[in-house]
Symmetry: C2
């Protein structure tokens, strides 16, 4: 029994990319909320991290990844990296004929809905903070909201070192977050895909009255809506023998696989290394 043209279009995978492993928290949420969708994930492990790099470099790297994902016949792309979303999304949207969404807009939207006192905090990489993009999106939607951003450069290395529950992580988190507590924010956006891994530590320091927003959840919701609006939803779970999830990296596949298996409930059998700078 053959598929109709429409079924073939809808059967194509979602492309998800990140500078490394952080975007797996977004992939995980897509797997949970959209179980019928296939995913092609790319992690740029040869050039990670993006958060300390310039707009030009991040845009160039993101463009190469989008070109690679298009060779995989994706029906939509998720920039599951706040830095790439902040620096490169506008240009990528203009250049690319498949729909692309980032993690920043969904996160900003959720924070506006969550805040009661109009004071939103954003923690992110240096690059995302410098871009001022959360501030811009939030102000565009509600100019009465105050946004306070704080770069937390040590969070990514602490997460990658596995210190998710550790007094050192608590100590560093306390230093970074004190000024956000002092100004009385009631909502905090976890503006880097690594940060949900230390959500517990951040929550302990911020206290129960502060709502933590994980853009991964909102991004998966927005993707669902986007697929629906474009008639691109997969109507059924791909059958046995179909590769539901595929993983590509630019370096060190073994290390990626190990980290991925600590984040995803779905076990990754392998990740394939590709030469991303050729795209």
């Amino acid at each position: 029994m053959g598929m109709s043209e429409q079924e073939k279009l809808c059967n194509r995978p979602i492309g998800v990319f990140d500078s490394g492993v952080g975007g797996l928290t977004v992939a995980r949420e897509i797997m949970r909320q959209l179980p019928n969708e296939r995913i092609v994930y790319f992690g740029d492990t040869a050039r990670v991290p993006y958060g300390s790099k310039s707009k030009d470099t991040v845009t160039k790297y993101s463009r190469q990844i989008v070109r690679f994902l298009q060779t995989q016949d994706v029906k939509a792309i998720v920039a599951a990296c706040n830095t790439a979303s902040a620096y490169a999304l506008d240009e990528l949207e203009q250049e690319t004929d498949v729909p692309i969404i980032g993690v920043v807009k969904p996160g900003a939207k959720a924070a506006i809905e969550a805040t009661r006192n109009g004071k939103i905090g954003v923690i992110a990489t240096e690059a995302t903070v410098s871009s001022g993009i959360y501030n811009r999106y939030i102000k565009e939607n509600d100019e009465n909201v105050t946004v306070l951003s704080k770069a937390c450069p040590l969070f990514v290395p602490l997460v990658e070192e596995g210190l998710w529950e550790d007094p050192v992580t608590d100590e560093i988190a306390e230093r970074y977050l004190t000024e956000l507590i002092d100004v009385g924010i009631d909502t905090l956006i976890l503006g880097c895909t690594h940060y949900p891994m230390i959500r517990a530590a951040i929550g302990r320091i911020m206290g129960e009255s502060v709502t933590l927003v994980n853009p991964a959840y909102e991004t998966a919701r927005e993707l669902k809506q986007l697929l629906h609006d474009n008639g691109l939803e997969s109507g059924h779970r791909p059958g046995l023998g179909t590769e539901l999830y595929r993983f590509f990296v630019s370096d060190a596949a073994d290390k990626f696989q190990k980290f991925a298996n600590s984040i995803l409930t779905y076990g990754i059998l392998s990740a394939k290394v590709i030469a991303i700078d050729k795209y």
Copy 2:
């Protein structure tokens, strides 16, 4: 008055490269010990760090940098990065017609001279530790020496965050170094060019009886010898109007400049960004 051919050859600069800013500690030592020599420094700030990447990727990146440095007419090249020295030096030496030295051999040699009890510790990036290169060099020179290596992935981000004198750095250093203390090493190689910046913290934890070896010092000495042996020493300090030191990076020149000026006594006026992946 024109220069002789030999003077022109000797007047060419030394190429020094690193994945980022760490190699500046080696450049600083070359400036100090070889004040007559010009330097062209390259920091691969678009692809930093190397310490978590694979041999293939580090070799490819190092090869591109060597090609770039050769366009700058260098008379010798210093791989001022332990990871590049560990993974790429053998291949680069074979491919390149100017002499190349790394930081690993000089550091290993100095440690063998320093140890009294034959127990040497090495702290370095994951990549350098995985390569086993310090162990190999030391054993080749003295098979009775015991070498204990320990990867310290958080040291680079802590240094880059500026926490050179900080209880958190002390706490992390204590965790990493305890097992080296327990086995009774009397000599410790600072096997990553960032580590001399937290030498004081490392020294406090190891205690006064442990000799800390900074390969930067030995590397500059070995470079001096190499230039002498090849008749390539510059006989006099370059005159006014000559660009004594030039700095190139692959990204974020401003940030590099700021960091460089905190390390070097010589003030850097500017660093030029080049597209290293074109080489």
